[in-house]
């Protein structure tokens, strides 16, 4: 039997006892074969791990669907809760109105002012040489070309295609694309994914952009929390963080 065939049968899990001995003998005696065998073993593991990442992201979506609908179900049957909620909302609205009319310094700064702290993060991971011929199958390059030319809806959809194999920095740049498209909730999700990944290079950046996303979408409380967390963990954007925190106070 050819040695390649032996490997095929090994990976299919269908080696007989005799073939197994042959394989072991080859691994022992033939250095070239051993190298090939080890490469294929490692490739197999990498393929499976990539698939796991893809499935994990998929199940994360299923989980979100479940917990999302549970929350709605929990509120729905108790209509009196709605009435209380409506009452509270009215009260809040009234308070805000009164405060505004009486000319007390208005509470939170407009979200636009936070937007002024934002610039799209440069592509530092996938260098692109101008005039380089693009391999159409190289989706990552294509995505970063779109990203660098500020075509964020295209980069957004291209990043999606490679998301499942390259979980770290792609998550981050997808987050920036989402931010640019004004989809802040979604952006937050991707920055968060990045922070949960093995990626190390862009951690502070991810925290910074996540905090900004909260602020720009109007969630000052969470935004402030994230800014404080960033300040604690590093000195990234130190001055900006201080200014923003002062602005919120």
């Amino acid at each position: 039997m050819e040695s390649n065939e032996l490997l095929d049968r090994f990976f299919k899990g269908s080696l007989t006892a005799e073939e197994k001995l042959m394989l072991e003998e080859l691994i022992r005696s033939d250095a070239e074969f051993r190298e090939e065998f080890e490469l294929q073993q490692a490739t197999r593991e990498a393929v499976i791990r990539n698939k796991h990442k893809e499935l994990k992201a998929f199940l994360g979506g299923v989980e979100e669907e479940i917990t999302g609908s549970q929350k709605i179900r929990k509120i729905h049957p108790n209509s009196y809760l709605w009435k209380i909620a409506a009452g509270v909302a009215l009260l809040v609205a009234a308070t805000v109105l009164i405060f505004n009319f009486t000319g007390t310094p208005s509470a939170a700064p407009a979200t636009d002012s936070f937007l002024s702290y934002y610039t799209a993060y440069p592509n530092v991971v996938s260098p692109i040489t101008r005039g380089e011929e693009l391999n159409p199958e190289d989706l990552e390059k294509a995505a970063f070309v779109a990203y660098e030319s500020k075509n964020y809806s295209l980069s957004d959809s291209l990043f999606t295609k490679i998301l499942s194999y390259q979980t770290d920095y792609v998550q981050f740049y997808k987050g920036i694309s989402k931010f640019e498209l004004g989809q802040y909730d979604s952006a937050i999700q991707y920055f968060d994914n990045y922070l949960y990944s093995d990626g190390t290079q862009l951690r502070d950046q991810a925290k910074w952009y996540m905090a900004l996303s909260y602020l720009v979408k109007g969630d000052t409380l969470r935004g402030k929390e994230e800014m404080i967390r960033l300040r604690k963990s590093s000195g990234y954007k130190m001055d900006e963080v201080e200014r923003i925190l002062l602005e919120i106070e």
Binding site: G13, E45, R49, E140, D198
Partner: protein
């Protein structure tokens, strides 16, 4: 009904995975709460266990006479949970310790152990290979399909075409780390 679900799992149907996930999620969380209270960790583990089940089904290793889906999810879940808890707190005593079978560890390994640098690097290189390579390698290494089966699934003329395509993919992979050294 359950048979169809299993067949769909075996065929690698992700919507079947989602159905199984929803079907046993509540019972699993109830069961696992006996050992640990943190909902987030339990959900994380439940996702891993569901994927481990999918792995087995897709690679043709799910033996249904021996254990039903639910039994598999519960025993594997407990194994993964105990392993994780023990790694976090090495002195931890857990009730109902039992002899874990070697098969459980084999299935759980990739969820419990970190990849070595070479595997991580290969994972990234794989993503740059292009869709056809990715698909062939997934059929071959993840679904344990033969060249003949892949030929049919991907509409090639002959298994040999798959073979040569696969070796070209492997060659590009090798090229990708030609100049790289991995420390172990």
């Amino acid at each position: 009904m359950r048979d169809i679900l299993i067949e769909r799992l075996k065929a690698g149907d992700k919507t079947a995975l989602a159905e199984v996930y929803k079907l046993y999620r509540e019972p699993f969380l109830q069961f696992a709460k006996r050992y640990h209270q943190g909902e987030e960790l339990l959900q994380d583990i439940y996702q891993d266990v569901s994927i481990a089940l999918f792995d087995r089904a897709v690679s043709g290793k799910l033996e249904l006479e021996k254990s039903s889906i639910k039994t598999y999810l519960f025993s594997m879940g407990k194994f993964m949970l105990f392993t994780r808890l023990k790694r976090e707190q090495p002195g931890l005593e857990l009730k109902e310790e039992q002899e874990w079978s070697a098969g459980l560890y084999e299935d759980a390994k990739l969820f419990i152990e970190e990849p070595d640098p070479k595997v991580s690097f290969l994972g990234k290189s794989l993503a740059k290979l292009g869709e056809k390579c990715r698909q062939i390698l997934e059929y071959y290494y993840y679904e344990n399909k033969s060249m003949k089966e892949i030929q049919q699934l991907m509409d090639y003329n002959h298994p040999d075409v798959v073979k040569s395509h696969k070796s070209r993919c492997m060659k590009s992979l090798k090229e990708s780390f030609k100049h790289k050294k991995f420390d172990y």
